[in-house]
């Protein structure tokens, strides 16, 4: 939920990166963290297992600049992708302002993408949100791998409502900021309606 503080002239929004296990959600955040100036970001918090799988969430605050004299700060979260962390995933979506779905482009992960997207819709609904109305972007990640599904097929399978679709290689940063920009713009556009 967007927080507007008139005393400190700040707008705070929450964006959640969602998707199946090992699709690259944490890699997206890691790239944003590594390529942002120190004064624009806070710490990157990763609650991960010993094998670096997300256990609860990753979190980083990112300051983008000012709009109408208000500092805009985005709180970026990832969810744990593995199926059995369902309870945690649901908790993290609470109060979300925008969602990025990170899809794994590899052929063998298409079923996992579809399942995770369905799970996202369910979990949003349980908090009273509707994927069709919430700011949302679809990232097709790992486009550099040899066995990827053609973009058109992925779009017809995963696109829900004409949301922006961004091809990405999160490990090298390609498409990472374009994805963030696509969802952040929609979140700020929502503010106009308040």
């Amino acid at each position: 939920m967007t927080f507007i503080n008139y005393a400190s002239r700040e707008i705070n929004c929450k964006i959640v990166y969602y998707g199946p296990g090992l699709c690259g959600k944490t890699t997206n955040l890691q790239h944003i963290y590594d390529s942002t100036a120190p004064q624009a970001k806070g710490k990157l918090i990763s609650l991960a297992t010993e094998t670096d799988r997300t256990l609860f969430f990753d979190f980083m605050p990112l300051e983008l600049g000012t709009v109408r004299g208000f500092k805009t700060r985005f709180h970026l979260y990832t969810v744990p992708g593995q199926v059995f962390y369902e309870a945690s995933r649901k908790l993290i979506l609470k109060g979300v302002d925008g969602v990025v779905f990170v899809a794994d482009s590899q052929e063998e992960r298409m079923d996992a993408n579809i399942e995770s997207l369905y799970n996202l819709e369910e979990n949003l609904r349980s908090h009273g949100y509707d994927l069709m109305k919430i700011p949302y972007a679809l990232q097709l990640n790992k486009r550099d791998l040899p066995n990827v599904v053609p973009m058109g097929d992925m779009v017809s399978e995963l696109q829900r409502k004409g949301e922006p679709v961004i091809e990405a290689i999160a490990s090298s940063g390609d498409g990472v900021f374009d994805t963030l920009k696509a969802v952040a713009k929609q979140v700020l556009t929502e503010l106009r309606k308040t």
Partner: protein, 161 residues
């Protein structure tokens, strides 16, 4: 659809800051932070030093959400307070409706004192937050400020150095 934004007007912010300052003094705490249940920091008071209160707010909310989930599994609605005692520094969290009151304290205070003082201000904080929610639901002339945000304003955020 997500609820509308929470608007914190200056006077409310100062009311909250005054309560936090009083709580901090009465409980001899190091830092007091007020956090919304979704992890957004509302206000903070105390000896911050290099304490990263943004991360603290997010983790406190995650902590409360996780223990709240456990509470439900055993048939409780939620656990209204959480305490974490360290060797030198400790944290006490009270759940007050939609807000979390996080108190960081050291050997200058005690868990009992922090619990007592936190409880004493909880009604007051609850009332201020209810007023914030009312403000957020009202048609605020200042909020038209955001209605005037242009595509260029948004675009400029991504081109600022």
């Amino acid at each position: 659809m997500a609820d509308g934004p929470i608007l914190i007007r200056e006077e409310r912010y100062h009311e909250i800051k005054a309560v936090l300052a009083r709580l901090r003094m009465d409980s001899s705490a190091r830092v007091v932070v007020l956090v919304e249940k979704d992890g957004q920091q509302i206000a903070v008071h105390g000896e911050l030093g290099d304490l990263d209160t943004t991360s603290l707010a997010s983790l406190a909310a995650g902590n409360v959400a996780a223990t709240g989930g456990m509470a439900k599994l055993i048939g409780e609605d939620e656990f209204p307070t959480l305490s974490h005692e360290g060797e030198r520094e400790s944290i006490h969290i009270s759940v007050i409706g939609r807000i979390l009151l996080v108190v960081v304290f050291d050997e200058r205070s005690s868990l009992g004192l922090v619990k007592l003082r936190s409880k004493q201000v909880s009604q007051e904080l609850s009332a201020v937050f209810a007023a914030i929610e009312r403000d957020s639901n009202e048609n605020d002339p200042e909020s038209s400020l955001f209605g005037e945000i242009t595509d260029e304003d948004i675009e400029s955020l991504f081109t600022q150095p």
